[in-house]
């Protein structure tokens, strides 16, 4: 039986982990490779690197981090942030990323998704959707795509966009609620469910995890195939093992290889 995936996400800037993984005594908590190894050993199902600086000058640094991680960890790795062209996708895949996240570029030009899927296979193209509620009280729920870290409103309906990119070759969607991100109050379940139920490809829930019940809700109520979280793991609030045990106790099918 296919299991629900838990995906720790590391924000990377200039080749360093932002805020760092603080739950283990790593020799260098800011080294993404060290952190990746720790999550590999902890039983994470996949790992996600998000390059939050994504400056052109530092691309080489990111590629080096990806390639050193791929050499040390025998687990799937998704890398996103600043991916604009087919050449960017190719460089990350050649460095050792298994999947590449495309965000703003997919919003600006969905043809990039189709071209990348055709060239590299849809299994490695993750479209990252950053959405915010725009419906007023009493109105039917509606979300729009926002870019540039939630600052730029695009006017594009999130569910229509999800459906469109899934038909154009996205293999998976990473759905982040910009309302919830950083609040530790749980995923936007309505958003997650609305998108998951609209598309036939897997959806990763993201943004807002404050505790283990939020992970359960993302799958049980949001219908997500995978749950992404950052701070609850990085700061030692919970281990990946605890999260899996909690989700399994709630009746979800988890991979517990011990």
């Amino acid at each position: 039986m296919l299991k629900t995936r838990i995906i720790p996400c590391l924000d990377v800037k200039d080749g360093r982990v932002v805020k760092g993984v603080q739950f283990l005594e790593l020799r260098d908590a800011g080294d993404p490779v060290e952190s990746a190894k720790a999550y590999d050993a902890a039983g994470a199902d996949e790992l996600c690197f998000l390059d939050i600086a994504a400056s052109h000058e530092n691309r080489g640094t990111l590629l080096d981090v990806v390639s050193r991680t791929a050499e040390a960890c025998f687990m799937p790795l998704t890398v996103g942030g600043g991916v604009r062209t087919l050449a960017d996708v190719r460089a990350l895949l050649l460095a050792g990323a298994d999947k590449v996240g495309i965000n703003t570029a997919a919003v600006k030009n969905p043809d990039v998704v189709a071209a990348a899927a055709e060239k590299f296979g849809d299994q490695c193209i993750v479209v990252a959707i950053d959405a915010k509620r725009v419906s007023g009280p009493g109105e039917p729920l509606r979300w729009e795509i926002f870019t540039h870290g939630g600052r730029t409103r695009t006017g594009i309906d999130a569910i229509e966009f999800a459906l469109a990119v899934s038909k154009r070759g996205a293999g998976e969607l990473l759905v982040t609620s910009m309302d919830k991100d950083g609040t530790r109050s749980g995923y936007d379940i309505e958003l997650t469910r609305a998108i998951t139920d609209a598309v036939t490809i897997p959806v990763i829930a993201s943004g807002g995890v404050g505790g283990l019940d939020d992970l359960v809700a993302g799958v049980r109520d949001g219908h997500a195939s995978a749950v992404l979280a950052a701070s609850i793991f990085h700061f030692g609030q919970h281990t990946v093992g605890e999260a899996k045990a909690h989700m399994a106790a709630a009746g979800l099918d988890m991979r517990i290889d011990r």
């Binding site: 995936r5 050499e71 025998f74 687990m75 298994d98 293999g171 959806v203």
Partner: protein
């Protein structure tokens, strides 16, 4: 012993090579040399041959054909000299007679059968079949020696929308459940293939690679 991992432009093979090196080391198989190569001469003389593959079927087949002499070298090593062969993901699918992804593409025809879309009986199941699944053994194979299988067994990492359906059910070593049976591993004589990615499957993957390195079909 030299293991040739065939490089035909299908993604990063560095992590695959590292996984093979680590599996060899942990299994105490000293003197194992892992070579990532696009040279048919290397493949022709290798003791073991590995064909990875990521992407679309037709694209991979074109990539393989674009390396002059590679298919001939593989065929000579594997069919002529009986060298053990492992296909991974699309590399496994290329062992089939035909691939039906977007267009019909001829495979190597080492395992009779077509590569067709996965069609789960439960329409709410997502495609691609992506993530960790357990293996159900259909017939014993030394490649699975010491690997716990079944619902309580170890997991393998899958990411695919198409699957190989062998004509001869005896070619299927293991399957996974995903709204029906999905071929996870095939073997016939000295050739074997996994739909999942052993190089991404942590414990199960390293154990399977070690078994392949020891395999004497």
């Amino acid at each position: 012993m030299t293991v040739a991992i065939i490089d035909y432009g299908s993604g990063n093979l560095h992590s695959a090579a590292k996984a093979f090196e680590r599996a060899a080391r942990e299994a105490g198989l000293d003197g194992t040399r892992i070579v990532v190569t696009d040279r048919p001469d290397d493949v022709a003389v290798a003791e073991r041959v590995v064909l990875p593959g990521v992407g679309a079927y037709a694209d991979c087949r074109r990539g393989l054909d674009s390396v002059p002499g590679m298919v001939e070298a593989m065929t000579q090593a594997v069919r002529g000299r009986g060298r053990p062969f492992l296909g991974i993901c699309v590399g496994m699918q290329l062992m089939a007679t035909r691939g039906l992804e977007y267009e019909t593409t001829q495979g190597l025809d080492w395992i009779a059968g077509d590569v067709a879309p996965i069609a789960p009986s439960d329409p709410s199941l997502k495609i691609p079949h992506m993530g960790w699944n357990t293996l159900t053994v259909d017939r014993p194979s030394p490649l699975l020696d010491g690997i716990p299988t079944g619902e309580d067994g170890l997991h393998a990492y899958f990411v695919h929308s198409y699957a190989l359906k062998p004509v001869d059910a005896a070619d299927v070593v293991a399957h996974s459940e995903y709204g029906g049976s999905v071929t996870a591993m095939v073997a016939r004589d000295n050739v074997a293939g996994t739909q999942f990615h052993p190089e991404k499957s942590q414990r199960l993957g390293l154990a399977l690679i070690a078994n392949f390195l020891r395999w004497r079909p």
